[in-house]
């Protein structure tokens, strides 16, 4: 797909650091009164504008069922930027941004969306949006289909006068299971071409996640080791120290598996497990990612319990503070069967990874917030030294303290042949003294540019749900919903999880 890189059309852009500056457009945020708009979306837009990556022309339109004036909406966004922007607010620039902010109360009717269309036409004339439209759907998932259908019925799935594109961005979760994901994708693709659909997983916007590709395919020394011949096993950890933070209602429906594994963890798994793409074209990369998901070994239903562990946090202490257990959180049933911890062993059945276990875990109320991928290499084939030597480990830290750590054995100084593990560290903050952009900045810019590389394609979504559905079915059939293992908030999870690895003589890392 041809990208809207203005360097191709504007020769003055060539060679500029901001050669990806975007075309003017109107960005319509559905669910604009929600937290994501204030915390992430508008601070991202502001920082893009601050960096000159978004043009002065264009507009931001909040769309929600709640009544609100333009001024009140703009004021709430300013508060959001002041509180959550990675850089301070500049009054002159904010005034400029604010002059392009408006708010539309959307009725759930085609007529209501036609009014929105008239508003966008007016902005095209007055704000120079150029007829280009980006619809950002940040509502509860149940509202996705209605919004998409009404956009189509009101003709808003086509660019406005003089425009070149109309695109839609969908926040996760895309569906609740395979069937609902397929149905949502069907509705979306009836209205928008797949090339105009941008399914966000904000993990893919993180610099360190993007660096996985550079690390693997921009260096020749790692890739020869990146296979079953040298790798003993791989661990992927997404640990959060927070609980459900007032989102009990959502979490009761989702649980950690749907909330974290189906998207974030599986995306990391794809980037670690995929083959080198032939090019950096979005579909070349996504083709390779989907192959990983399709190669996941299906778990026999009666093996689901043996290969996975779920748990639920009980009260405990995190960050020096006593915190409630999951079942005591607001909007959570006292007998809730929802997991806040999940760990699993899975296999990618292909030539590269045959027989290598991948251990995934995601959880809330862990001792600390950390996302990490660790490859543990096989032991040396012959024990030459008296002491046992630890296998080499390569750990890729996604957040926080982004960086890469290689652990290897070294001789301790002295007359005796004593072996001691040492580590070699690369930290982003050390080698690159500049502050990386927020994930949403990159993703919003890419959506405006039409670059879908960091977004999830329909078949990726469905392949990941296919695997998750099977797990859910296995758990359901084994009746394990009742009596999930409990773990103390602030611990590394239930003992059953340690046993999952201990069976094969392995252990979880303590990141």
């Amino acid at each position: 797909m041809e990208l809207d890189r203005t360097a191709e059309a504007n020769p003055l852009r060539a060679g500029l650091r901001r050669d990806l500056a975007a075309e003017p457009c109107s960005m319509v945020i559905f669910g604009a009164s929600g937290d994501l708009t204030r915390r992430k979306l508008v601070p991202a837009l502001y920082n893009l504008r601050l960096d000159g990556l978004l043009p002065g022309a264009g507009a931001v339109v909040g769309a929600s069922r709640r009544e609100m004036s333009h001024e009140a909406f703009a004021a709430s966004l300013r508060e959001g930027v002041e509180a959550h922007s990675r850089r301070g607010i500049d009054d002159a620039l904010w005034d400029e941004v604010a002059s392009g902010i408006s708010y539309v109360t959307t009725e759930n009717s085609v007529a209501g969306y036609r009014k929105l269309g008239e508003h966008l036409d007016r902005l095209d004339r007055e704000r120079g949006s150029g007829g280009n439209r980006l619809f950002y759907v940040s509502t509860p998932p149940s509202a996705f289909p209605g919004i998409v259908e009404r956009l189509g019925q009101a003709g808003l799935n086509k660019p406005g006068n003089g425009g070149r594109w109309a695109r839609i961005v969908l926040e996760k979760p895309i569906g609740h299971d395979l069937e609902s994901a397929r149905e949502l994708n069907r509705v979306v693709n009836q209205v928008f071409n797949e090339s105009d659909v941008f399914r966000i997983d904000h993990y893919l916007g993180k610099e360190t996640v993007q660096n996985l590709m550079v690390f693997r395919f921009g260096n020749s020394i790692f890739e020869p080791l990146w296979n079953q011949k040298y790798v003993d096993h791989v661990q992927l950890t997404v640990a959060e120290s927070i609980g459900v933070e007032g989102r009990g209602k959502y979490y009761e429906e989702a649980g950690t598996t749907r909330d974290m594994v189906q998207n974030h963890l599986f995306q990391l798994l794809c980037l670690i497990g995929m083959e080198a793409p032939a090019s950096l074209r979005p579909d070349a990369i996504r083709d390779e990612k989907v192959k990983v998901l399709e190669a996941l070994r299906p778990l026999p239903l009666d093996q689901v319990g043996r290969s996975t562990v779920r748990g639920q946090y009980a009260e405990g202490v995190v960050g020096g503070k006593k915190v409630a257990g999951y079942k005591q959180e607001p909007d959570v049933a006292p007998d809730s069967p929802t997991e806040t911890y999940v760990a699993m062993q899975l296999f990618i059945d292909n030539w590269r990874w045959g027989g290598v276990p991948f251990y995934l875990r995601a959880a809330k109320r862990m001792p600390k917030r950390v996302t990490e991928i660790a490859l543990q290499f096989r032991e040396v084939p012959h024990r030459l030294f008296e002491q046992s030597v630890a296998p080499n480990t390569l750990a890729l830290r996604i957040q926080p303290d982004e960086g890469i750590n290689l652990c290897f054995e070294s001789k301790s100084p002295g007359p005796k042949m004593r072996v001691h593990p040492v580590s070699m560290d690369f930290r982003y903050g050390t080698s690159f003294g500049q502050q990386p952009p927020e994930a949403y900045e990159r993703l919003i810019l890419d959506a405006i540019l039409g670059d879908s590389t960091l977004f999830i394609r329909r078949d990726e979504v469905e392949a990941s749900w296919r695997y998750i559905d099977r797990l859910q079915q296995g758990w359901h059939e084994q009746g394990s919903e009742s009596g999930l293992p409990q773990y103390d908030a602030g611990s590394w999870g239930p003992a059953e999880s340690d046993a999952l690895l201990a069976r094969s003589g392995r252990a979880w890392r303590r990141p």
Binding site: T6, R18, A21, G52, G56, R164, R427
Partner: protein
């Protein structure tokens, strides 16, 4: 025996040992120290100790975002008396090492190293060989030339030969256009295009961004082909005709990117007052929009502001005005910007050539 042979030759092994000792010292208080090195930066100072201090401050700032090994070459005032040519106390090179440390975002202490070479008399001839021995292997080498002119001095050529990029700062010269022409001649005299750079070029990047953004909107793109006039207002230093380094580069860049022919576009420069030196106050582009005469104007909203208003003077419909914010960038930040770039910049080479060709102004 040549003069260089008579000079004291620095003992590179001893310098490296001093560096090792320095690192042990910085880690001595139990606070973990990370020694980071991503590049070599050779800084060649103007004569006198004053510029050495300024260069050291610059290196410290640069190390915060681009950690590496800095080799600062200074030329202290020569205090020799007549007839003291044999007096070894001042003839030669003195070398000392130091570290620049700062706290990273995660609290880690991150340190870079600086090796200062003080060359006196015949010691100047030892500079290229000494620098070459002290470079960290397999890392890019950038040379920042802070001296006035290249002239017939063999040193810049020798340093260019071992550098990935050779960076000048024409904006600091009394006659920037003359300095730019000197840089162009120097660049043309060596093989391998794209190895020279100019901090003044990096300084105008934000203005290039601003001017380019006029034409991001598809409706204004045809106006790019119909430019008839360009007026740049900038603050000194400037030579004849108020041509500042920033003005010269902006005009050369537009001429090269848009393929202007001689006399196709009227170009004028004016001196801006109440503005810090080397800054641009406004750029006015005469063109047409939908067949009607128009002007696209980028102007600071006031001389001290870093906000630029982009506006159009036209009777036609136009998606302007809008504002952009110029980043606050001192010489250290500009240098970091150049260090982060890919090693070749063909857009700069074309702008440099257009600036000096005489077709432009």
């Amino acid at each position: 025996m040549s003069a260089a042979n008579r000079a004291r030759v620095p003992d590179v092994a001893r310098i490296e040992a001093q560096l090792a000792e320095l690192w042990r010292g910085t880690a001595g208080d139990g606070d973990p120290v990370t020694h980071a090195c991503t590049l070599n930066l050779v800084v060649v100072c103007s004569d006198g100790m004053e510029d050495l201090q300024a260069a050291t401050n610059l290196v410290a700032r640069v190390a915060e975002t681009e950690p590496g090994r800095a080799l600062v070459v200074s030329f202290p005032e020569d205090n020799r008396q007549d007839g003291d040519a044999e007096g070894g106390s001042v003839d030669g090179m003195q070398v000392y090492v130091s570290a620049h440390c700062h706290r990273g975002a995660d609290g880690t202490q991150i340190c870079s190293e600086q090796i200062t070479l003080e060359a006196r008399g015949a010691g100047r001839e030892l500079i290229p060989a000494t620098v070459l021995q002290l470079l960290v292997g397999q890392l890019p080498v950038y040379t920042l030339w802070r001296r006035q002119e290249f002239g017939d001095d063999p040193l810049p050529r020798a340093l260019l030969d071992m550098s990935d990029r050779f960076i000048a700062n024409s904006g600091n010269r009394h006659d920037p256009l003359r300095a730019i022409r000197g840089l162009q001649r120097f660049a043309a005299s060596v093989s391998g295009e794209g190895r020279t750079a100019d901090i003044s070029w990096e300084r105008v990047e934000c203005w290039r961004e601003a001017l380019a953004s006029f034409f991001d909107a598809p409706t204004l793109r045809p106006s790019m082909e119909q430019i008839t006039g360009l007026a740049i207002e900038a603050s000194g230093p400037a030579g004849d005709g108020h041509v500042t380094a920033a003005g010269a580069y902006l005009a050369g860049w537009l001429a090269s990117r848009l393929g202007w022919k001689r006399d196709q576009v009227r170009i004028s420069f004016a001196a801006a007052t109440d503005l810090p030196p080397r800054e641009v106050a406004s750029v006015r582009i005469e063109t047409s929009i939908d067949g009607a005469p128009a002007a696209l104007v980028a102007r600071r909203i006031d001389p001290t502001s870093d906000v630029v208003l982009l506006s159009a003077e036209t009777e036609k419909s136009c998606p302007l005005p809008w504002k952009i914010k110029l980043p606050a960038r001192d010489d250290a930040a500009l240098l970091c910007g150049l260090l982060q770039r890919s090693r070749k910049d063909p857009i700069f080479d074309a702008a440099l050539n257009a600036t000096c060709k005489g077709d432009t102004f």
